[in-house]
Amino acid sequence: MSPAEPDDAEVQKYYEELKREIESIGYHLNPDEEFTKSLLKNILLNKGRYGYESCPCRLASGIKEEDLDIICPCYYRDPDLEEYGACYCGLYVSGDILSGKKKLTYLPERRPGPDERVAKEGTYNIEYDNKLKGLSLPVWRCKVCGYLCAREGAPEICPICKAEKERFEMFI
């Protein structure tokens, strides 16, 4: 049940790699290093627990398919950055928060509750099947960063944010 806590060296390595990677594509980590590292430590802890980097601020089910939306970075990061200047955990922040122009506060949860999530799934494919008509190729969308590509299938890994194939949706 409780795998070993990640040590400081591991957290430091993760912090440095992630920071480099996300800054190269225009994102920022929270400049409060202590807060950020404690979140990263808990993401690593969740990876050990569940096998995937589940959001530390949300309750993981332990079933990857059910938690695809909350693997960090989650599907809600970009809309929350847009609206509140930070992701739900406060791990990712906007330029305004980074520069101190805006203050980071707790933000409301955008992820639908468990009952709503179940109800939503059924309506999904029919809509997209209809849209597909008339195109030579389907268009795939990365649900993490919004990257779009027209090809037979979604890429193995998102070339922008490195999200896995299963986190793509058929967009058109």
């Binding site: 409780s2 807060f35 530390p56 601020c57 309750l59 707790y106 509750g113 009952d115």
Partner: protein, 92 residues
């Protein structure tokens, strides 16, 4: 896993449903300690089996979105999230 109890001034029944990994939950817990309020807390992510199912149902009654932290005062008032002012006001 029973609820953990923190001693303090009696402001009614104060229960914090939290995640052991969450930054805002940690801040909420620290705030309650700072306010010297008597409260109980439970880390829902560390529960298993029936206990987990039961507590989840309990939290959903107060907050159907099942987000954390969820603070419940006297089984009536619910404060979702690290709402510093709301918590201070409710426990003044």
């Amino acid at each position: 896993m029973p609820m953990e109890h923190v001693e303090g001034n009696d402001k009614g029944k104060v229960v914090l449903y939290a995640l052991s990994t969450c930054g805002w939950c940690k801040k909420t817990k620290e705030l309650l300690k700072e306010l010297e309020v008597e409260f109980s807390y439970i880390y829902v992510d560390l529960l298993e089996g029936e206990e987990r199912t039961n507590i989840i149902e309990q939290v959903k009654k107060f907050n159907k979105q099942l987000s954390f932290p969820t603070l419940v005062i006297d089984d009536k008032k619910t404060i979702v999230g690290f709402n510093e002012d709301g918590i201070k006001e409710a426990l003044a």
